[in-house]
C-alpha cells in the first residue's frame, strides 16, 4: 500500500482482483501482483479533448497511476462547455499540461505526464514504453497514424511489442469504442470503409444548382477560393479566411435566393465540425477505461471487439466482432528480415527476394518512406528507378530502415528490414 492510500480506497476494485471470477481471462491470478501491476503499468492517452478529459479522470479513479497524455492543442473558450478539466483562466494554455496538473491535484498518488505536441513528433521508442494505448481523437488521419505506428511496432518474434489499442470516438449522440490487438484482431485500417465521411455534394450541384446554404459555402471554398488564392490553403481557424468565404457564399446565396448562410455555419462546413455532446463522450470514455482496466488485470473478459452506441433514435447499443482484412495495408502486411552485405547491389537484393520461400514474389516494387527504390510500374517510374538497380544497397538505404514491398501478384504489402553484414 503506498502512502497515498487510505483504508478501503480501492476496496471495490480489489473485490475483482482478490478472488477468482466466473469470467476471468486465462492467466488471471488474483492477489498482490495484479494490484501492483494495475498501479504501476504505463498507459498512454492520445488526445486531451472531450474524450481525453473523461479518460484521464476515469483511469485515475480506476487505479492507474502512471498515465501519460499527448495533445497538440491549446484550450479554446468553446471547449469549456464539456472539457471539464479546464477553467476560464486556462484559455490559451496547452490542453495536455493543464489536464495533467488538474488530475494530479485532484487524485492523490497519480502521476500524469503530459506531452504538448503532435503524435507524429514521437517515434517507436516513445510508444514502446506503454502497456496500453487509448485513443480519444477526433480525426481519422491521426487515428490512422497512431494505428499504423502501433500495429507496425509489433514484431511477431517479440511478444512484448504487442500493445493493445483502445479507440473511442463520438459524433453527436452516436459513438463507438473498440479494442484492437495488433495483428490478432481487426485494426483501424481494416475497417476504414466503415468510417463516416464528411458530407460531400455533387460538383454539378455546387456549380450550377445550389439549393442549400451549405452548397454556397462549398462553392466559395472549393471553387472560388482556389481561383482567388491558387497557392493558399484555407485555414478554418483564421477569421479572415472564414470572413472571405462567408462574404463570397452570401453573394452566391443572393444570386440563387438562398438564405441561412452564417459565420458559424461557414466555419462548420469548412472545418467539418460535428456537434460534441458531453454525455456521449462520458459514455464512450467510460467504456474505454473499463476495457483498459480489464485488459491490464485480466480479471474479466474484455470486449471483442467493437461496441457501437446509437443515442439519437432512442438508445441502441450492440457489440460485435469486426473481422481482420487479409489484404489490410497495415496489419495484413507480412514482415521479413534479410541479412545482406551492403556492398551488394539493389538488383542482387531483388534476386534474393525472388528466391524467398515465405512469399511468392514475382515483380516486387520497393520503396522506403522517402524514396522510390525500384518501381515495376507504371512504365515511367520503371524507367526512372531502373538506374538504382546497379547501385549499392548502402547508398540507397540506412541499416534498419523500413522498406515497403508491393507486388501485383500478391494482395498484401511486405515490410522488409535489412540487417547489414
Amino acid at each position: 500500500m503506498s502512502h497515498h492510500d487510505w483504508p478501503d480506497r480501492w476496496k471495490d476494485l480489489y473485490t475483482y482482483l482478490e478472488r477468482p471470477g466466473p469470467f476471468e481471462n486465462d492467466g488471471f491470478e488474483p492477489g498482490d501482483a495484479v494490484k501492483d501491476f494495475l498501479h504501476s503499468c504505463k498507459i498512454l492517452v492520445i488526445g486531451a479533448g472531450g474524450l481525453g478529459c473523461e479518460l484521464l479522470k476515469d483511469l485515475a479513479l480506476s487505479g492507474f497511476r502512471d498515465i501519460h497524455v499527448i495533445d497538440m492543442d491549446t484550450i479554446d473558450v468553446s471547449n469549456l462547455n464539456r472539457q471539464f478539466l479546464f477553467r476560464h483562466k486556462d484559455v490559451g494554455k496547452p490542453k495536455a499540461i493543464v489536464a495533467a496538473e488538474f488530475v494530479m491535484n485532484r487524485v492523490p498518488g497519480v502521476t500524469v505526464t503530459p506531452y504538448f505536441g503532435k503524435i507524429q513528433d514521437k517515434d517507436e521508442e516513445y510508444y514502446k514504453q506503454f502497456s496500453i494505448i487509448i485513443c480519444g481523437l477526433d480525426s481519422v488521419e491521426a487515428r490512422r497514424w497512431a494505428n499504423a505506428t502501433i500495429v507496425g511496432m509489433f514484431d511477431e518474434g517479440d511478444p512484448e511489442t504487442l500493445k493493445p489499442i483502445i479507440d473511442g470516438g463520438t459524433e453527436g449522440f452516436k459513438g463507438q469504442s473498440r479494442v484492437i490487438l495488433p495483428r490478432i484482431s481487426a485494426c483501424y485500417e481494416c475497417s476504414l470503409d466503415m468510417q463516416t465521411k464528411p458530407t460531400t455534394f455533387p460538383m454539378c450541384t455546387i456549380a450550377n444548382t445550389p439549393r442549400l446554404p451549405e452548397h454556397c459555402i462549398e462553392w466559395a471554398s472549393s471553387v472560388a477560393w482556389p481561383k482567388a488564392f491558387p497557392d493558399k490553403k484555407i485555414d478554418g481557424d483564421d477569421p479572415d479566411h472564414i470572413k472571405w468565404l462567408l462574404n463570397t457564399a452570401l453573394d452566391r446565396g443572393r444570386e440563387f435566393n438562398i438564405t441561412g448562410i452564417t459565420y458559424t455555419l461557414t466555419q462548420g462546413v469548412v472545418k467539418n465540425i460535428i456537434p460534441a455532446i458531453a454525455s456521449t463522450n462520458a459514455i464512450v470514455a467510460a467504456s474505454c477505461a473499463n476495457e483498459a482496466f480489464k485488459i491490464a488485470t485480466n480479471c474479466t473478459t474484455y470486449m471483442c471487439n467493437y461496441m457501437m452506441y446509437v443515442g439519437d433514435d432512442s438508445v441502441y447499443t450492440y457489440t460485435f466482432e469486426l473481422q481482420r482484412k487479409d489484404e489490410c495495408p497495415v496489419c495484413g502486411s507480412a514482415q521479413i528480415k534479410l541479412r545482406i552485405d551492403p556492398e551488394k547491389t539493389l538488383s542482387e537484393l531483388l534476386d534474393m527476394l525472388l528466391d524467398t520461400q515465405e512469399v511468392q514474389l514475382k515483380a516486387p516494387s520497393l520503396r522506403t518512406a522517402a524514396k522510390s527504390l525500384f518501381m515495376q510500374a507504371p512504365p515511367m517510374l520503371l524507367e526512372m528507378t531502373r538506374p538504382n538497380l546497379d547501385r549499392k544497397i548502402r547508398d540507397l538505404v540506412a541499416p534498419g530502415e523500413e522498406i515497403t514491398i508491393t507486388d501485383a501478384n500478391i494482395p498484401i504489402s511486405l515490410q522488409l528490414t535489412l540487417e547489414f553484414i
Binding site: N25, A148, G152, P159, T161, A377, P378, G400
Partner: protein, 184 residues
Amino acid sequence: MLNIMSLKNKKASAAAAGESAKKSKTTPAALRLQKDISDLKDLPSTMKLSFPNPDDLFNFTLTITPDEGFYKGGVFVFTFKVNPNYPHDAPKVLCTQKIYHPNIDLEGNVCLNILREDWKPVLNINSVMVGLQYLFLEPNAEDPLNKVAAEVLRSNRKQFEQNVNRTLRGGAVDGITFDNVIKN
C-alpha cells in the same frame, strides 16, 4: 488470449538495443498508394502516368489520348493530388487545359461522382483513371459543369461534335477560346 502482465514480467530487454535514431515511418496512405501505383502494369495505350518527382507518389499527372468518340485526336492532361488521408479522402483531380466538355468546367474542375459524393476507400487510382477516360467516350449531359456545352450535346449532337472538333484545335465557341490539345 492476451496477458500483458506476463509480457511485462519478462522485463524490457528491447529498450537497451539502442536504435534511438528516429526512423521515418511509411504512412498508411503511402502504403496503400504504393500498392495502387505499382499495380498499374498493364495500362491501355490511351493512358499514361508521369511523375515529376519519382520519389513522390502523391503528385502525378495522367495523360489521356482517346482513340474513339468525340474527343479522338486530343491529348488531355490531368493533375492528381493525393492527400495524406487517402483512401479515406478521394484524390483531387484537375484538368490542366481549357476544354469544351459538359462535365469539365473552364477552370478544369471535373464532375465525376466517384471523385466526390460516391468515393469509397475500396476504390483506387485506377478506378479514377477509368472514370476519367469514360468521360471522353460518353460525355454526360445530365450532370453538367459546363451547362452550355451540355445543352448543345442534349439538343444537337451534330453541332456538339463540330464544337468539340473546333475547340480541340484551339478554336472558339460562343466567344470563348479553348486550348489546342491536338496530338502532333
